[in-house]
Amino acid sequence: MPFVPHTEEDIRAMLGAIGVDSIDDLFDEIPAALRYDLNEKNPLALVPDGMPESEVARLMRGRADDDGSPSCFIGAGAYEHHIPAAVWEITTRGEFYSAYTPYQAEASQGTLQLLYEFQTMMASLTGMDVSNGSLYDGASGLAEAVLMAVRANRKSKSKRILLPRTTHPHYRKTANTIVKNQGITLEELDYDREGGHIDPASLPDEPGDFAALVIPYPNFFGVLEEVDALTDWAHSHGALVIAVVNPLALGLLKSPAQWGDKGADIVCGEGQPLGVPMASGGPYYGLMCCKQALVRQMPGRIVGRTVDLDGKAGYTLTLQAREQHIRRSKATSNICTNQGLMVTASTIHMALLGAEGLKKVAAQSHANKQELVEGLTAIEGVQNVFNRPAFHEAVIQLESPVADVLNSLAENNILGGYSLVEDYPELGNALLVCATETKNSTDIKDYAEKLQRILNA
């Protein structure tokens, strides 16, 4: 096929379709001072001169110092956990360290075996039959799970998905952006104000037809949903169950395969808590598992184990007929890549901790959250909002504006939590706090004392 660039006419038609006058208008979001004008004599005049390495190092050290080393009590989807030094020491060895995942079976047995081990670990954490080699992140993973459920649920003619408001707000936005132009409707499901969970009794009794119900576990408030009742409701109403999980929590909690009578059908989630540093928001990775019956609808790459001509074990990509290089426009997804390096770190992290280690991290995080909530709610004017069991996060309510309190805490070297004011205005001055195993009693007391001082000021 020849390479044919867009003609002027093509460009005008495309601009017309989205209601924009010129290509320059597409860059409006970037301040003019930061854009260069190709018509200028020297379009790069705004770019500063180069700096010597020593000066760059000094500049970057200064910027890193500006971050300080605050004590972090923010969770909300990205979690601070202890990562053994060996994890990234091994991950960044030359044999693994690559921006792109090498898939050639003849050249990359090590990487392929590691991905296979990763899939095995994910399948055993979630209890599901199969796992793929990862997706981009938790949020886009949910979007892929929604698309997959609509394809897989052939009994349901609807393209409607029940999506609880207890699902991470960013995940909901991301999923909506990806699926809305494919005729799929995400119907919001409100939560119980006392429990912070989806009340199974609130599920539509005479529902329209839904392709799937999304169940976050733990949910965005840290609260544990009534997964058995929700799963059974979905299956008895012809809907599939999409579990959105924190994989670390599954070290302790009931695996999605055991929910209700039949278990969840698709499991997705954010892999960051397993050995990936928070790093200002990424790169992270998404996990995805499902029942065997749905494997041909699953997006992403899958590594399989086979034998070579001599009968020796070997690893190779498998079930590629789902993928875009073979199925073209009918492919399960355009996502045909994975987050190889993050998955490498996660696999090594899980191998080092073992099942017992993961369980201990989860249990200690849960215990620290309890201690944190007790410490904070002992302060006058601070209330615990929800009465249902929760994992390592909780919602507390303050009597003064959350943003001001968070700013004052930040001045005192405490990242106090994630404000829920914008996403959940009905909760008032609500703050989502988190304590992982990285916090001890001294850290927690320090937070409580500083919060008390700020509230009494």
């Binding site: 007929a321 789902r322 073979i326 199925r327």
Partner: protein
């Protein structure tokens, strides 16, 4: 030259049909299985599903490719060949006994519009060049 039984009807997209009363049995032709190679998975429609002529209704996946099967006629699926779940290779062994599904015709005249064996042989021969 592939096997094209004279008593069957065909489509340009390589499905065959055999009609018994108001029920049509559908499969893919010997020529199609030959092009696709070893079958590894066949995704069949649900019993009770309704299709219009030309709708994609099944997927045949081989070691080389995954291809859609288009419904040669309009109607409701009344039976699918469950045996194919465990032995997709039977399509390679004999494409004309390894049927995919049976569909209750909603418009019997659609069968008359299909290709006869001689015309289909021509299509398959052209296709092979």
């Amino acid at each position: 030259m592939s096997n094209v039984p004279a008593e069957l009807k065909y489509t340009k997209s390589h499905e065959w049909v055999s009609v018994d009363g108001d029920v049509a049995t559908v499969g893919i032709t010997d020529h199609a299985q030959d092009l696709l190679g070893d079958m590894v998975f066949i995704e069949l429609p649900d019993v009770g599903a309704t299709f219009s002529k030309g709708d994609d209704c099944a997927v045949v996946e081989s070691v080389k490719a995954a291809s859609d099967v288009y419904s040669p006629v309009s109607g409701e699926v009344v039976e699918v060949n469950e045996d194919l779940a465990d032995s997709p290779e039977s399509v390679n062994n004999d494409a004309y006994t390894a049927w995919l599904f049976k569909i209750k015709l909603s418009d019997a005249s659609e069968v008359d519009e299909m290709l006869d064996a001689a015309t289909y042989s021509g299509v398959a021969a052209d296709d092979s060049h």
